[in-house]
Symmetry: C2
């Protein structure tokens, strides 16, 4: 039967070869058809391109279609927002390394699963070794005593860290055995402490865990976007006074928008003094460990109890390559599972180790493999150079924004993101503050959608809090092959789109044109 050939075994490579050739051809044709970082036409255009391929009858015909792989791959490429294009720079969405994607194919062909030794003999060894290496890399005092597991990303790592912290505090302060229900006397009393700009997945995880999204206490950040340790200290003390039970402190090493890194060493000392475990969400910033220049930002990381890393961010892996590390193996022990069909005790005693009890998942692909291949292919210096290059691009973008009269920089980049906005004429200090903000928000949001709809650029956006806040644009620079000229072009596209939006809003005829504005005329 056509299409029923398997990817594994001795014959798998022969079956795969022509199919991979089809994929490569279709990827190229699709990218050419796209002709830029994403397809033009916005959501309607994309839906139209895919319409005929995605009807129920097209997706599941009674009889198969041998052209499916080619047609669908071409369509996927034609409708992608491709981070390998220098003008696709919105999110923590990396262009994966070819070597990592190729390694991922080996995993897809052999299909190891880490829930039992006998589904992944080599995979089990490989994940264990990569985790051990990363435990050393983050600076745990005793990497041999550390344990960890690959996850789907920072969101799962945060969920696991908070779960472990929850169960530890329930055991310690409420004498509740692992796996028991949250007791009535603890209901609504547990609290998690993180900076106000920590990742939204913390609140989400807290809700999942039955603690409530409100259990996350947001600590104000300092001018640089990082948590103020004195405020954390006071909050922890206040919590006890209010009858709350501190469950976990979460520091962020690299916030999504600003790339801010909390002062890890001070926070670790405070958490220790209060007897509360410290989790560091280093999903974004963890990649700085590869760079001699940026690694000092993470000073103190090794003092954490648990650390989350995402190598599908500053590690250039195809999704997913998250990791949760625990400094002490015992921290993970509440996850242990004994399942008759996966890891019976006598098999474990005979040396058939299972990683089932490290993860919240059961079936689990060894994402550690592509990471191992990447680390060894590039070495520390190769990855460090990529991190440094992206950081340089961010600094270049900041310089251009500073010198461009129609753009306003929010802050100097810490890692590889740059926050800024287009400064509309109307926000030139001639209206009221409220009007100015409303106009600025609308113009920036609209110019970003215009770039998306035209298929010319994928720029990010976010919202800053406070009176001076509002919609801001964001570049997340993760393509080490981008040039300074690419960044200049991208920012020129933003300025031109801003002018066009203002032109339209003003109902003017003819092509959009800016009145001249000098740098020194930029509103303060």
């Amino acid at each position: 039967m056509h299409g029923a050939e398997l990817a594994g075994g001795i014959d798998g490579p022969e079956a795969l070869a022509p199919l991979l050739a089809e994929v490569l051809g279709a990827l190229r044709i699709g990218a050419e058809a796209r002709g830029g970082p994403l397809p033009a036409g916005g959501p309607t255009g994309v839906a139209l391109l895919l319409r005929d391929l995605l009807t129920p009858a097209a997706l599941l015909p009674e009889t198969g279609d041998p052209d499916a792989l080619r047609e669908l791959t071409r369509a996927l490429a034609a409708t992608a927002a491709d981070p390998a294009d220098p003008a696709c720079a919105a999110h923590l969405h990396v262009p994966p390394l070819a070597v990592a994607s190729a390694a991922d194919l080996a995993v897809a062909a052999l299909n190891p699963s880490l829930d039992s030794w006998d589904q992944a003999p080599g995979g089990t060894e490989i994940e264990t070794a990569v985790v051990r290496l990363l435990a050393e890399t983050v600076g745990f005092a005793r990497p041999d005593a550390a344990r960890g597991v690959f996850t789907t990303g920072g969101t799962e790592s945060n969920l696991m860290a908070l779960l472990l912290a929850r169960d530890a505090v329930l055991a310690r302060e409420f004498a509740v055995q692992g796996g028991a229900a949250i007791p009535a006397e603890a209901a609504g009393r547990l609290r998690i402490f993180s900076s106000a700009t920590a990742h939204f997945s913390l609140a989400r995880a807290s809700g999942v865990l039955g603690l409530g999204t409100q259990a996350v206490v947001p600590i104000e950040v300092a001018e640089d976007g990082a948590l103020d340790p004195r405020l954390l200290d006071w909050s922890l003390a206040d919590a006890r006074t209010a009858g709350h039970v501190p469950c976990c402190v979460v520091a962020t090493a690299g916030t999504t928008d600003r790339g801010a890194v909390d002062p890890l060493r001070s926070i670790a000392a405070i958490a220790r003094r209060h007897g509360v475990p410290l989790h560091v969400d280093a999903a974004y910033g963890g990649g700085a460990l590869f760079s001699r220049t940026l690694a000092p930002l993470l000073d103190g990381l090794g003092l954490a109890d648990t650390v989350g890393l995402d190598l599908h961010k500053l590690g250039w892996q195809p999704v997913a390559a998250g990791v949760l590390l625990a400094a002490d193996a015992a921290t993970l022990s509440p996850l242990e599972q004994r399942v008759a069909y996966l890891n019976p005790a006598d098999d474990e005693e005979a040396g058939y180790t299972s990683l089932l009890g490290r993860s919240l998942r059961t079936t689990r692909r060894p994402d550690a493999f592509k990471v191992a291949v990447t680390l060894r292919t590039l070495g520390r210096s190769g990855l460090g150079a990529m991190v440094d290059r992206c950081h340089e691009l961010a600094r270049h973008a900041a310089r251009v924004i500073t010198s461009e009269p129609w753009l306003e920089l929010v802050a100097q980049p810490v890692l590889t993101t740059v926050l800024f906005r287009y400064l509309p004429e109307a926000a030139d200090g001639r209206g009221t503050g409220e009007d100015d903000r409303r106009v600025s928000d609308a113009v920036n949001a609209e110019l970003r959608r215009r770039l998306l709809a035209n298929g010319t650029a994928v720029v990010g956006r976010t919202e800053l809090p406070g009176a001076d806040g509002g919609v801001r644009l964001k570049l997340t620079l993760l393509n080490p092959h981008s040039t300074e000229a690419d960044i200049d072009r991208l920012l020129a596209l933003v300025v031109a789109a801003g002018a066009a939006v203002e032109h339209e809003r003003a109902g003017r005829a003819g092509p959009a044109q800016h009145r001249p504005r000098k740098t020194q005329e930029k509103p303060a």
Copy 2:
């Protein structure tokens, strides 16, 4: 810099081509070196094969190594338990289709992420369409009103279904808003009802959600391994009397060991009468929907409120390809998230739909793509034939086991698993019942490890409850290219390994040899 080429963009295919050729060559050489379903030598042998590649210095050298991809891929293949080998038949661990693995490469190259439209314009459309198709396939009354999301597998689907059920019951019976902490008056009172042989991930999810692992009430199964609906009915009534709050009924369509399918239609009626939502864990059995012969087993599936499917089981996808479907879009609404940098309201209003609020994950690879390619390549009939073929192989295995004096069948296969045991001489009715069981358990466990250590076969094992229970062996037949002769050989290996283990235990010299035993002499 060597190794820094990207997989995406116009140039990605050119960068990938030589790397993929390396992978295919290394996969073949690795498989040949393995020379069977898994490497010989057991855990020690595997560790030895990988030792030099997995030291910290080998994994992260200061300077990169251009041979890393080839060497590590060869090592991964050489140390895999490869489900494409007919003698690898232990778990719900499929040999993936070449076309699905090739499709997965396209995703790994373009790296779309489903947490915002502008990271996956086409991916967003594709997942939405595949989910819509699957909602139709499971038989929901109004597939257009259904919603769903891809997951990492049944474990995540179960967690999500129970989370949604928990929050619904907290809102309904305790007037608690979504995202609030579990209130003291609900603590320890929520209950989940499933068969005693339902998947262990239900108890695990219940623990994660703060309900406690003990909140899962196991309902005794009937002779055929399926939940007895009368007992469910009584349990639900008893729960209310005891002051418990029924939160969810979980039916299983295809238990991991026996493949038993709970009577879905009866269970749906009971759940509805008690006003409790029904989740069906069809991770394994859902694949029967593609088969005209087996689909009737799932009668009533469309009456569920939520359904979990795993297309990395009877769908032959590389991991992961789980799905959670909800009959009514409103069921998923508690998952909604509004995040300034991912799905601001004005972008959504302008048509830039984000799937962020469907999933517990943030960054998320579109596993729907490989599923779409597979469904269209094979069609309903192609996939149905593969399911039927594996079912036939299981029936063949059952016949061989029945006619083999040294093997004992537990029950006729329902889907594609076969439970049985090797009958040791010592369990031949000549010792006490307790002795017999102890010997049988030890011999079966040991013969399985012997097959693993010799690298000759990967056979599953599990444990049956009750006085007549104990260790049983399991074949999970998921390779549609296996032949009846392959099955015969695999079972002969089991018998020979059993004889060898008995021989050694008895301290006999010379080669292992069975005394003759006729079928009619098998212990009853």
